[in-house]
């Protein structure tokens, strides 16, 4: 784990300043969005189960800075940060979280199933492991068509023990698919510690079973994360096939909002929260003169307004009509 003062190793591998700031902007967006959503859900104004990714902001923020709008993403229930970072518009996202007709999915999907093809977010799955096989298919389509797109599959550490992981990585490798597998290793799958459930010390090493490059990286270091993702994205885009990235991180709010964290070692969470990547990265950007306090203040203020607007939009939007139950089951509406 790098300290606040040493993000990203030596300066030569750092992205340009505007990218560094854009990563921060995304991280701030994700953090503020999460904070607001948690407070609204806790206030009871939105009903639903929320899998917060607070603490994991650096990963999709860095990855997304390397993706085009039409690149594909498949993510998981704990993937709202992945969707936002990829560009899903916040108002529609919020409306979906609130189950409103104005949501990305007309309220029918909900927080576990955010989809927004216009931003490249094709699938959010509630099934552990299932983002990976589908990302392969998107990548296969791109490869067959030569459209230059790549696909990213996000998943957790726990997902590395399920069959779909294995099948997907093998297939991606033999077909040299333009896909990047990004494991956000937050040390727990639900309440189960990584070490208990997983028979190897690093998931990245499992890439060897598929003759695939594997990268183990500090996922809370936005600069190192960017470098790792760049290597993988460049490989995918250049026809070099898939990469497995294991990004080490931590979730600050347990598995499910309301989680009492009894299964954690005392102090474990506090230790990670002290190294909260968002303020740490902010300090670093300023210390390294990539941005001024004022610039970052302005970014934060804008985001605050945007989050505010999105949440108000969501809460004032109508619920879908019950007739929606008969729509989108098939392309053709079901007769009453």
């Amino acid at each position: 784990m790098s300290t606040t003062e040493s993000f990203g190793g030596d300066a030569s591998t750092r992205p340009p300043k505007d990218v560094l700031v854009e990563i921060y902007r995304k991280m701030t967006l994700l953090k503020q969005n999460d904070e607001r959503f948690r407070s609204i859900i806790q206030s009871g104004r939105i009903i639903g189960n929320y899998y917060s990714a607070r603490g994991q902001e650096a990963i999709p923020s860095a990855v997304s800075c390397l993706l085009n709008q039409d690149d594909y993403v498949c993510t998981i229930y704990r993937g709202i940060h992945d969707s936002l970072a990829k560009g899903v518009p916040m108002k529609q996202l919020w409306a979906e979280l609130a189950g409103r007709a104005t949501g990305t999915c007309k309220g029918k999907g909900g927080p576990m199933h955010i989809t927004h093809p216009a931003s490249g977010v094709m699938v959010t799955t509630g099934i552990v492991g299932s983002s990976m096989p589908i990302a392969n298919g998107l990548a296969l389509a791109s490869k067959m068509r030569g459209d230059g797109r790549i696909s990213v599959a996000y998943f957790g550490d726990g997902a590395s023990n399920i069959g779909a992981f294995h099948e997907a990585l093998n297939l991606a490798s033999i077909w040299k698919l333009p896909v990047v597998f990004v494991c956000q290793n937050n040390r727990y799958g639900e309440h189960t510690k990584y070490e208990y459930a997983t028979a190897i010390d690093q998931i990245a090493k499992r890439s060897a079973s598929y003759t695939m490059p594997g990268i183990h990286v500090d996922g809370n270091d936005p600069v190192a994360m960017y470098a790792a993702a760049k290597e993988a994205v460049d490989r995918a885009r250049g026809g070099g096939g898939p990469t497995l990235i294991e990004a080490m991180t931590f979730r600050f709010h347990g598995h499910l909002l309301g989680d009492m964290d009894q299964y954690m070692d005392p102090g474990e969470k506090d230790g990670w929260m002290k190294k909260d990547p968002v303020p740490a990265y902010r300090r670093w950007l300023v210390a390294e003169s990539y941005a001024t306090e004022a610039e970052l203040d302005a970014i934060e203020k804008q985001i605050q307004a945007d989050v505010e607007e999105a949440s108000s939009f969501a809460l004032s939007s109508p619920y879908p009509d019950v007739a929606e139950l008969r729509k989108d089951v098939f392309a053709q509406e079901i007769a009453e």
Partner: protein, 331 residues
Amino acid sequence: MSETIEAPAEMTSLQAINLALHDALEADKDVFLLGEDVADREGGGVVELTKGLSGVFGEERVRSTPISEQAIIGAAIGAALAGMKPVAEIMLMNFTTVAMDMIVNHAAKLRFMSGGQTSVPLTIRMMTGAGFANGGQHSDFLEAWFAHTPGLKVVIPSNPRDAYGLMRACIEDPDPCIFVEPLGIYWVPGAAPQRGEVIPLGKARVAREGSDVSVITYGKQVNDVLAVADKLSDVSVEVIDLRTVAPFDEAAVLASVAKTGRAVIVHEAVKQFGVGAEIASRINEKLFGKLKSPVARVGGKFSPVPFSQPLESAFVPTPSEIEAAIRGTLS
């Protein structure tokens, strides 16, 4: 919970299942539990159903697993073949979709395919149900799939006492049992079980006597139907709680419908090709010409379970749909 020696007068079904597991672990050293987060170190699962059990019986017998449903059921099948009585948890019923091979091609068939040389005394627990804002991949009732699979028994309790007694029966049963725990009964208190009471599989319960129409149902919908029945002062509704969905208690169903001449079947699973179709077909086959009106079915709508609250409420059988179906048989 599991340290309780005297059961209180009331408890929830969640507590009753915990108690059943406790008592089964205590009664038979071949019983053990496995599943994601089931041990106390992991908090006894997201709803804390198994909380306290590994504290008493140790982590050898209450084993948390990786997220590997095929490996979980496979391990349970193998241990059952060796004579153990495993209780495997698949957290939510939808996650059986990653372990269907183990359940259907193996657990269900090994006795038959071995010509009776081996048996799989395995219980697979799982929760499910709409109404909890869990959306399309976490809410399905799939009992019709398992009911259609020779070799499996399917049990869905509606109240704490049955939950306890049916769980004990499943664990003792020499064959694989699918034990479905509706989220909608977990936190509802009811009369506490008698410790040690085993409720036989395949036997329905008359949850309410009546003379005009028989409503056949199970799980959470038993409570929903009872509430509707109690409200209808002008119709005398008999409510049959199947308890075991497969093999279901045909004799009890036919006896009730023969008496009332009218039948409604209610379940949360999608109506089309659901369990209700089989029950309705059997009623029609066996009581042809004796029915006063067509057998009615009320079920989940023909769509994935939606997230948005108004849609989710409309997806499940609503009280007004249940009432309309009951009244429909009388008109």
